[in-house]
């Protein structure tokens, strides 16, 4: 049994999750990473993606998160996301809206760097869409 730690997922609207968990997969801007207990303190920016939480009883919860950051400290892990939706509540319409926004971002981007970032977001969204439709 893995050691557990405190995890909080907070969006501007509300506190979505505050529990002891075994591990969390965080979509960081430099790459996804998995947090276990007693992780070194780290502060990472998020990119849009799926956040996998493994609860103490082994159950998994997935959230779609966008924008914000994850802070791991001695007290556990806190994820502040600008948008966080439980995957069960995420319907096709919302995802399509996100994809549309991303497409607009790609179109509006005025330099390469931003266009790459927006394109990356868009690709990730599309892959999420595929995963969900298959699953």
């Amino acid at each position: 049994m893995a050691e557990s730690f405190k995890f909080e997922l907070v969006s501007p609207e509300r506190l979505l999750l505050s529990e002891d968990v075994d591990q969390v997969l965080v979509p960081g801007s430099e790459g996804d990473f998995t947090m276990l207990a007693n992780h070194a303190p780290v502060l990472a920016v998020l990119r849009p993606g799926l956040l996998d939480v493994t609860l103490q009883d082994g159950k998994e919860q997935r959230y779609y998160v966008r924008g914000g950051f994850a802070e791991a400290g001695p007290d556990g892990l806190t994820v502040l996301a600008r948008l966080a939706i439980n995957i069960d509540d995420l319907d096709r319409a919302k995802l399509n809206q996100e994809i549309k926004n991303a497409e607009e971002d790609v179109a509006d981007a005025d330099d390469d760097e931003r266009r790459h970032a927006a394109q990356d977001t868009l690709d990730r969204l599309r892959s999420i869409q595929q995963t969900l439709q298959l699953g």
Binding site: E13, L43, V45
Partner: protein, 296 residues
């Protein structure tokens, strides 16, 4: 002496008004609960956000070379006032109070020879400020169509503020809103957005374990800071909108409660007056009949 029909009409009209105010009070009470829950649910996010920013600030900003959004443009000439009020009236002094502190603030800046620009969120504040400041009011964000304030609304306002900041349109941004303390107590407030007003880091933690555990940053500090500052402004605006929504309903509830009570008092007075007048008239008619009969 006012005639009976007039009195009856007035009683009917005050009764109708009372029904409306009572209904508004009840609606406000229901909305208040929801708004209050929303405001409370948003607090953890805002609190964490300022904690993290304060941490980062202590690390990066202290050498005075942080991004302009944190340390300012170095000038203090043009001020942007974001004034958040309600879209509707009939809520006591709520809108007037916010507009007043904004006006006082703006007047003081103008007296100091600074340029003042105002963005209004909510029609009511706009109506009252545009009379004093005219063209200084550069924009109005209309939230009338919005039933529940979401983060997206706040984000849109924040984007507007950044766009102006990037164009060098202002040096200091201040946000005006009303903080919800209780149903009876809402405090109009000013909050500096840019440069970010961060809580001073307090050394309440025991220093026994030496300097705080070193954080790893991914990507580096400055990039994170550049990422977080806009997020912080959005969060502050969002919090302000939610606090405002709760305050507005609280103020309306109180205002409508006293309006209902006033209407009740008025109805009592008018009814008394009506009954007296009616009795006086009956007495008068009786006297006329009696004296008429005696004359025969």
């Amino acid at each position: 002496m006012s005639n009976l029909k007039d009195l009856r009409n007035r009683i009917a009209s005050v009764t109708a008004t009372q029904k409306i105010t009572r209904a508004m009070q009840m609606v406000a009470a229901a909305k208040l609960r929801r708004a209050q829950e929303a405001a409370e649910a948003a607090r953890p996010y805002a609190e964490r956000m300022s904690e993290v920013l304060a941490n980062l600030n202590a690390r990066v900003g202290s050498n005075g070379s942080g991004p302009p959004m944190l340390v300012g443009t170095g000038r203090d000439d043009t001020h942007l006032l974001v004034v958040a009020t309600a879209e509707r009236g009939l809520c006591g002094g709520f809108n007037a109070n916010i507009a007043r502190i904004a006006r006082v603030h703006a007047m003081r800046l103008i007296d100091q020879g600074k340029t003042v620009k105002i963005i209004c969120v909510g029609r009511k504040g706009h109506d009252s400020l545009i009379r004093t400041f005219g063209t200084r009011v550069i924009d109005l964000v209309d939230l009338r169509a919005v039933r529940h304030v979401g983060y997206d609304n706040a984000d849109a306002i924040a984007k507007r503020v950044f766009a102006l900041f990037d164009e060098g349109e202002f040096d200091v941004a201040t946000l005006f809103f009303s903080e919800f303390r209780s149903v009876l107590n809402q405090v109009p407030q000013a909050l500096q957005l840019i440069p970010a007003a961060l809580p001073e880091e307090t050394d309440e933690k025991p220093v026994a374990d030496g300097p705080q555990a070193a954080y790893e940053y991914e990507p580096d500090e400055e990039e994170i800071l550049a990422n977080l500052l806009p997020l912080n402004v959005g969060t502050q605006i969002f919090r302000a909108l939610l606090e405002n929504a709760a305050s507005e309903q609280g103020a309306r509830m109180t205002a409508m409660d006293s309006a209902t009570r006033n209407a009740g008092d008025m109805i009592d007075k008018l009814t008394l007056h009506y009954n007296r007048t009616r009795q006086a008239q009956i007495t008068k008619e009786l006297i006329e009949i009696v004296s008429g009969a005696e004359a025969l």
